[in-house]
């Protein structure tokens, strides 16, 4: 194995976009079947085992209990099944060709990582901020401490598949309505945190938002900042298909998935994590996941590389300002992050976590770009004058449903082509259904 490890090495060696699902099932046979289907879907895939919510929140007893009852959980209960059984399950795969990533969503991942390594899996994801603020009630200071020792556990691993690969989930945060400058800054900051705790094989992430050009600029800025600030790391960039309210129509969902694949390919991103046509309704099946991988691969193959840096400059500057403001807080990255959130120098819009200031607000402009409506106490400007009126429930839904309206609206001839259609009255937006990701 190269010094990139199973996972980083697989991504680095593949000529073209590596694609991945977020699949996870509680039944080991179904999990095995799902991994096989993904492996067989094409040359450029990697495997995923997404854990269930009980395991993620540290409720191991409940995961065991429900497993005994035969209740279908929303993911694979790694700790309840245990390392031995999991090792047996993944024994069906040659990880030097088809490495597997554990996706978990935990602010306290130590036990999960220990079991993962014992099972023979050496790739995972998350971060002290990105798996604390959006997904838990854990105090940020506790998550930072837990993630520090968990990262050290990963970096000390010397067994098969080493070095361990860790992806920062901070390009996603709440999945939508977070302007790209903050997503890019958090990626670099979590990347620095990983390096501080000894990891060398890492990836950065960015979730497709609402405007293709803005996303393009954000990813370009992320790459530039990673080159400048993450010296000594082997890194690549992972794109996520839009994580928010998904189009209900199969055609709309497919168009959005394909758009994300073109975004990943045209920015030279190395990996893409897809969503499916079922996203608006429920947890997708194996077949739906495989279909999404095939569409994404085909769309990526047809995309041209792009080199327009204009859209990148604003994101680059905003993210740089945020990163510097955080680094000024403390020499230790973890302490700097805690201090920055306490002072509101970082503020994730609409995030309800008690350690987030929750004063920042986002809006979508007429071209479909995410803009700051309020930056709270962050050291960056909104770029707009005057106070923003209160966001009503209907306003929030209009913003959350942007892509659903764009792709499912009645104006069929405009579907998927315009970013200036956010004045169209919301259609069929009332269900308030959200992303059932974990």
């Amino acid at each position: 194995m190269t010094e990139l490890g199973f996972f980083g090495g697989r991504v680095a060696r593949h000529d073209g976009l590596v694609t991945q699902t977020r699949m996870g099932f509680s039944d080991p046979w179904r999990m095995l079947e799902g991994l096989r289907a993904v492996r067989n879907a094409g040359a450029g895939t990697v495997g995923t085992i997404t854990l269930d919510s009980f395991t993620r929140t540290g409720n191991l007893d409940r995961a065991r209990e429900e497993l005994l009852r035969g209740t279908p959980l929303n993911g694979y209960p790694l700790l309840a099944h245990g390392a031995a059984r999991t090792r047996e399950l993944i024994g069906a795969f040659d990880q030097s060709r088809f490495p597997i990533q554990i996706r978990h969503g935990s602010p306290r991942p130590y036990m999960i990582f220990r079991e993962m390594l014992a099972a023979g899996i050496t790739a995972t994801e998350g971060g002290p901020v990105s798996y604390c603020l959006p997904y838990s009630r854990e105090p940020l200071a506790a998550a930072v401490t837990e993630w520090a020792r968990s990262c050290e556990l990963l970096s000390e691993y010397r067994g098969p598949g080493a070095p361990v690969h860790l992806e920062s989930f901070s390009g996603c945060m709440l999945g939508q309505l977070c302007p790209p400058g903050l997503l890019v800054a958090l990626n670099i900051l979590e990347g620095l945190f990983f390096l501080e705790h000894g990891l060398r094989s890492i990836s950065l992430s960015y979730a497709q938002q609402t405007n293709h050009r803005q996303d393009f600029g954000a990813i370009t800025a992320l790459r530039r900042l990673a080159r400048e600030r993450l010296a000594g790391a082997d890194w690549h960039i992972t794109i996520y298909t839009f994580m928010g309210v998904f189009p209900e129509s199969a055609l709309g969902a497919r168009s959005l998935i394909e758009e994300s694949a073109r975004l990943a390919a045209s920015t030279g991103s190395e990996r893409l994590i897809v969503k499916t046509v079922a996203e608006a309704f429920r947890i997708p099946t194996i077949a739906e996941n495989v279909q999404a991988l095939r569409w994404a691969t085909a769309a990526a193959a047809g995309a041209e590389p792009d080199d327009d840096d204009d859209a990148a400059e604003a994101v680059y500057r905003e993210a740089g300002t945020l990163i510097d403001a955080v680094l000024d807080q403390h020499a230790n990255i973890g302490q700097a992050l805690i201090g920055a959130f306490r002072k509101g120098l970082l503020d994730v819009p609409y995030c309800l976590h008690p350690d987030n200031a929750n004063q920042a607000r986002t809006t979508i402009d007429s071209a479909g770009r995410l803009q700051w409506a309020s930056t709270g106490r962050m050291p960056i400007a909104t770029g707009r004058a005057g106070a923003e009126p209160r966001v009503s429930a209907a306003d929030l839904l209009t913003m959350l449903d942007y892509h659903r309206r764009r792709f499912d609206g009645s104006h069929v001839q405009e579907k998927g082509h315009h970013h200036d259609d956010d004045r169209i009255a919301p259609a069929g937006h009332g269900s308030g259904q959200l992303d059932a990701c974990r």
Binding site: S53, T57, P134, P354
Partner: protein, 145 residues
């Protein structure tokens, strides 16, 4: 939180395993649009914290929203913990969202949740129209008290 006298109070929460919050943010704004003062407990709330919050704040409505597919597993224990407190026996409590991993929620499961003590279950496609009507009703009842 707005503690203006006379404003009906609502607590918004989710189940202990559910990390999703856009649904909670939306419900907070919707309740505020309907005149409620809202205490939003955010993601992954243990039910004991929900009960403590309700005992402290004595809301006119408790809204449980969950979209991670574990609703049918955790909602029964949730409502039993709430109804076990005498002070909360008559508190209107509703549940909604995506309650299982399959999509559609069987009628038997809805009936079971109602039998266990929920006042309403909003899990069908019509929920978006039904819930605001329900809110108007609860708001009026709170104002009359």
């Amino acid at each position: 939180m707005d503690t203006k006298v006379g404003k009906p109070r609502a607590v918004v929460c989710t189940i202990a395993s559910d990390a999703h919050t856009w649904n909670l943010m939306f419900l907070q704004l919707l309740l505020e649009d309907h005149g409620f003062a809202v205490h939003n407990l955010g993601s992954c709330v243990p039910v004991v914290e929900v009960v403590d919050c309700c005992l402290r704040e004595r809301p006119h409505l408790l809204v449980l929203s969950t979209v991670n597919g574990h609703g049918l597993i955790e909602a029964p224990g949730f409502i039993q913990a709430v109804r076990n407190r005498t002070e909360l026996r008559s508190l209107p409590v509703v549940v909604g969202g995506k309650l299982n991993v399959d999509g559609a929620v069987p009628d038997d499961d809805v009936r079971n949740l109602l039998r266990l003590g929920f006042d309403a279950v909003f899990a069908s496609a019509a929920a978006a129209e039904e819930f605001p009507r329900f809110l108007a009703h609860v708001g009026q009842a709170a104002a009359a008290n």
